[in-house]
Symmetry: C3
Subunit: 266 residues, 3 copies
């Protein structure tokens, strides 16, 4: 690609210089890259949140995109640094589960970052975002084959992310993320709903969350009056619960991990 996209997700915040420095490293090595900040306000060390964000947005980027994800509480310890080729894209980050989605279908080619020619020197013990991950992502963007970075790695760290379970005619899931608009995004994908309730009209499903019961899975935020709680398949392809014109999470107290149940009928 003449102008490869490099995305960047971290817990670096926006108050310090850490994000800017990473941008500088990428631009220096691969000036043609288009560097796209996903978010840098992941709570410090919240690997699971970063992994969720990466999974939610990676679909939306074109083949060949390189995703740089640095939430790295173990920086400076023995944890490995990885690059993975998966889903037609590439992923760079620490071996702590932040790249979980890259390994989801079992088809990832994973390499340990070992060849120091692709690092920035000297390599600090505390800022591998700058010294290891950013330069490697930039070299991948500039065309370096992933195999050159280091040896293959068979067992990358995975997250113990709860997956939805279909039992006794119901689908048990959880709230996975609260977005800015207060929408509760779940770990229940549209495909899981379709598989659990074959042939059932979405309007005949019921969604339960924290004592609330929502009749029907709708299609947009605008289908019901202001203040109504609705369940819909959102833009990242998963079941979400939203308040029309409001902030469902703060009004109803929804939070990450809350159980969500889908069943047919009332």
């Amino acid at each position: 690609m003449p102008n490869p996209i490099v995305t960047f997700t971290s817990d670096f915040g926006v108050h310090d210089w850490f994000v800017g420095v990473v941008h500088g490293v990428v631009h220096q090595i691969c000036p043609a890259a288009r560097l796209v900040d996903i978010t840098h306000t992941i709570a410090p060390g919240d690997v699971a949140a970063a992994a969720f964000v990466l999974e939610a947005c990676a679909h939306d980027f074109p083949p060949g995109t390189i995703h740089l994800a640095v939430v790295d509480p173990g920086v400076g310890t023995g944890r490995l640094a990885l690059a993975a080729a998966a889903h037609g894209q590439m992923f760079v980050g620490p071996d702590n589960g932040v790249l979980d989605w890259a390994f989801a279908d079992g088809g990832a080619r994973v390499h340990v970052l070992r060849d120091e020619r692709y690092f920035r020197h000297p390599v600090s013990r505390t800022f591998h975002g700058r010294d290891v991950f950013a330069p490697v992502a930039a070299h991948l963007a500039a065309g370096t084959p992933i195999e050159r970075l280091g040896p293959p790695h068979a067992k990358p760290a995975r997250l113990a992310t709860p997956r939805p379970r279909a039992v006794d005619g119901r689908l048990d899931g959880r709230v996975a993320y609260i977005d800015r608009f207060g929408n509760a995004l779940t770990n229940v994908g549209a495909d899981a709903v379709a598989a659990a309730f074959p042939g059932v009209d979405a309007r005949a499903l019921t969604v339960e969350i924290v004592g609330r019961r929502i009749r029907g899975v709708t299609q947009s935020y605008g289908d019901a009056p202001i203040g109504t709680l609705v369940a819909l398949i959102g833009s990242s392809g998963r079941l979400e619960i939203a308040e029309v014109g409001g902030h469902a999470a703060s009004r109803f107290g929804f939070g990450r991990g809350d159980p969500v149940v889908v069943h047919a009928g009332d």
Copy 2:
């Protein structure tokens, strides 16, 4: 233009992946574009605030700039999606008033976004920023003529923005926006002041706001001692009230909608 500027204003916040995804879509379609974030912390659904920001900053961008503005509480309903050519620039957003300034002089060429070849597919019901507005802005940046996007539209939605009124030798306006520095920007432009008080020296004007009386319209924040409340024509060409070295809005309780009066003499 070899490197067209695309600005981006939204209420998407900076914590989720929504802004990043829009960047990805624009870069994929028009890698030459220079994508400039204006702000993404417009309060959710605050169309008027986004319209104000767009009006305040559009002047500062060169001819040919494309402004993408997505504050879209009606996404997924019947509201139209628009592109407009006005003031030598282009504007893309929902038909809810967010593009109000584009229509201010009556000379805009407005088109409904209808030709789905310029959309991203599949088009979700909840994220037209990604699927409709961003790809259209990028195609405009890449040179697609606005006429190709869809049929002309004669009656775009306008905002009921209060305009300043000159009556009985005084000019009645309102606070339109509080900026980071606590400055109260008004809806009173420098031209309205000049028209209402022809030949009057700015130093002979008096500005009243929430019980405070300011003698003279000055030229910069630094013309008076720290803590002084001053009235000046700010960098976006409108009357603003500032505290030298302080945060006027929090100290004096100024807020959007507060009345501001300008008159000659004491």
Copy 3:
């Protein structure tokens, strides 16, 4: 450089349009530039914080980088506007100390911004970021020699930044900055430690901060159990105090200006 890096540090915040407008000006004058935001959440008018950030990150950018720093409470008054060539890079900002680090080694070539051909017109009295500093930075990026901007300036404003002092076998410093992770970065550089304690193993040093005593200067956040307070040389080459897996500043109440003492032995 075909794609010069322009960094941008300010107190403009991220809620208004000020940062976006500056980006637009730079892209218009020098589309090839890679514009990197360092931070825009410097507290309004906090020149010292911006100077610290600039010093902390400039090392990490390649030669030829142009650093634009706009924390400018004196905008519109008589304060000068400057450009400086130093440390193989260039620096643009007001003459109020924000560029302090550029002058640290005495080798800077400093010029007053006087030639208005390099400004944006009309020049406002309140937004020199847009009208003076950004266009000058962009012209430098596009190859304009610094000498053309205006006459040399012999006495740029300096900050009265406290420097660490070695006395009686101890090194007295201060906390200079609290970062997002709650780490307390000090004004004590690794070189000052080495000079004050020649031949002493870092593990034999003791660091005291606000009544806390830390044995040994370690190498990474991960060397000790969660909750431990550690002293280390951080990624910007200075002594910092961190809590492993925690936020030291909020837990222990560390703040800018707090005294930090290093000595050998217990």
